[in-house]
Point group: C2
């Protein structure tokens, strides 16, 4: 498939170099993303400095060099700032290191250790947290640990008001280069999904990072992330979105996620869906059936907007149904910082129930206290329906 790249000015001196990864199906080999993802590197050309911020995935190394070459000879790169060594950004570093012989690699000390162990690249100089480098423009290097790895950092180009944020504020999908070329709603959804899948597990560190940036007087005019659109119109909105996503306060919607082998769980889920809608809640339903599967990333994105999660799966081999065990494990790990989330577990069985109980125990084990479990034998009778709606009442 033809791979699309972009080279465009973000400011007078700063270029975005973006590649749209049309070959990917599963980000991190984990998240289904039919909407795809982009990798954004940035190139600062100012006075004697040619500074590359981050890069692309290994398979696009040559394309990155070609893109740089359309701005300036890549052999002239003086510094490479490595905010984050995950290979979707750093995979092209070995090629850059080979071609740009005089480039020095800069980053958090841990990034240096990773560059060495991942790629054998040792032309590294550590940056201190808060240090201001002179790249012709002042560039403040700020360590933002666990956003999304321990070495992760951002750079604030103070004179230009540009925050180079790498994973933070990144999005899935292949949106326009700049956020003023599209509606915020769709962009927000793509950023939410990225947060929920990749960064959500470290939400408390996001709050800390936002506080840190604020204390340092970082008031960006432009936020230029490593994935997706560049924020220049909705900067305040996306900062607010992150504060909201990282916080413990719940959204107002409802998420229903279920695995239905033969339709029994589905009937129960539909009953609860109806009851939730009657209470005026927006309900988002994600089905895993014999015919189709929802995307796990969409489930997480929806939960980030929800106050209640309805989970449906039958007992399977006297255990939790394996696909639901997988889904719920991820949900718990990603949302363990939102302890006020309510859960309603719907779990039928053929001859003896254990799956539902175990789902309930798993949720409580992760520290969720608002958990109701309804197990029942066989089909959805009036009695079972009543138990279900009563349980919903208790957990809402």
């Amino acid at each position: 498939m033809g791979i699309k790249t972009y080279i465009e000015r973000v400011t007078d001196d700063l270029y975005v170099l973006r590649v749209d990864d049309a070959n990917i199906e599963f980000f991190e080999a984990l998240w289904e993303i039919p909407e795809k993802i982009s990798y954004n590197a940035y190139l600062l050309v100012k006075e004697d400095h040619v500074v590359l911020f981050d890069g692309w995935k290994a398979e696009y190394s040559q394309l990155l060099l070609e893109s740089i070459g359309k701005v300036i000879d890549p052999r002239g790169i003086t510094e490479v700032v490595v905010h984050h060594v995950e290979p979707d950004h750093s995979g092209s570093i070995p090629e850059i290191a080979r071609v740009s012989e005089k480039a020095v690699f800069l980053g958090h000390p841990l990034a240096g250790r990773m560059l060495s162990s991942f790629y054998g690249v040792r032309r590294f100089k550590p940056l201190q947290d808060g240090a201001v480098a002179d790249f012709g423009v002042k560039a403040r290097f700020i360590h933002t640990p666990w956003l999304h790895w321990p070495e992760t950092a951002v750079t604030y180009l103070e004179d230009e008001g540009v925050l180079l944020s790498c994973d933070a504020f990144g999005s899935y999908s292949l949106p326009p280069l700049f956020d003023d070329q599209a509606d915020f709603t769709g962009l927000e959804r793509a950023a939410r999904k990225y947060f929920a899948t990749v960064i959500g597990h470290y939400a408390p560190f996001v709050s800390k990072a936002l506080e840190k940036l604020n204390k340092l007087g970082v008031r960006p005019q432009i936020i230029a992330p490593g994935h997706g659109t560049i924020w220049r119109r909705n900067v305040d909105q996306v900062l607010k979105l992150y504060a909201n996503l990282a916080g413990e306060e719940l959204g107002g919607e409802a998420t229903i996620v279920y695995v239905s082998m033969y339709g029994n769980v589905e009937s129960a889920a539909q009953l609860v869906e109806k009851a939730l809608k009657e209470r005026g809640l927006k309900v988002n339903v994600y089905k895993f059936t014999d015919k189709a599967r929802a995307s796990m990333g969409d489930v997480l994105e929806s939960i980030s907007r929800s106050k209640i999660v309805v989970v449906g799966a039958s007992t399977y081999e006297s255990e939790v149904q394996p696909l639901m065990r997988y889904l719920l494990g991820i949900i718990c790990e990603k949302f363990s910082y939102r302890k006020k989330l309510s859960f309603l577990v719907l779990s039928p069985y053929g001859w003896s129930g254990t799956g539902g109980k175990k789902l309930g125990e798993a949720l409580r084990g992760f520290g969720f206290s608002r958990v109701e479990v309804v197990e029942w034998e066989g089909r959805l009778t009036d009695d079972v329906s009543k138990r279900m709606l009563d349980a919903l009442e208790r957990v809402l």
Copy 2:
């Protein structure tokens, strides 16, 4: 999509009624089956008896009635033998019960409880284990618990030498009606995969059932299962296959299954693949990457032929990578009866390793003792490669 059905004589009095489920993607909402699956019911028409053995999925109820109607008026059905109440076979029972007003439903007492709780069908008469019913021909009802549910049974038509085996000896895919119309190799693969995914967890009960059938003098000429081809040429082979699949003895092949986010795990897996091939082993590789995913059912089918399983996945958020946690959980549950299986775990990490250790602990927790774990930081160096090959040596 057009749904294909078959009506054909198995013996003078016995018809197979088969529907090919072209709409399905995930059997049990769990197993990826691009090869699809069929549901086989059987109709015995002899003297005053019109006996239906099992049925189809609910969505094909009308089609089943139409198919029966091409042989005989379904209102004339006298008995319905319910070997197994899982809805892929029993989903059409409510419609049959509605139309065939005088039909009595027969099965293990637990099947009666399930018919009542699943469908509200109470026109039930329990059959005793070993009872011989007179359907115009002698039909011996044999309880084969956990093959694949606790109520599951088979019927042996003694005069005709036909074993109606429901899930046992069933296959995925849409093979010819009879096994003499295709090569055994492909049919065997489809039966293996069905066993590994659906029945494998209960393997010890399969051995017991085979012994029980043998003691009862069941020497079928024809094995007529609820899914896939009818065995009439390869009866001995498929009985032997089941004895083999249910036993603790390992196959001679190697299975490699890995989740590779950015290619590092893949490099390690390729190294081990080469080493295994150099030792003359047949190696089957199943990849879960950013571009494609193998099918879990194929992984299990391969393990049923293997003596060693190589598992590759990096640490993820200080835990086992979630997709591998899912895969390995299923592998352990399905093959816990094959304790002699060897496992080699390959697990890189970025800054601290835990995923590999935890995979090793999970395997040992399931009772596997031949487990080696190799964790390493960063890329595959010569030193890491050596550790890996040494570990392989110890576990082979």
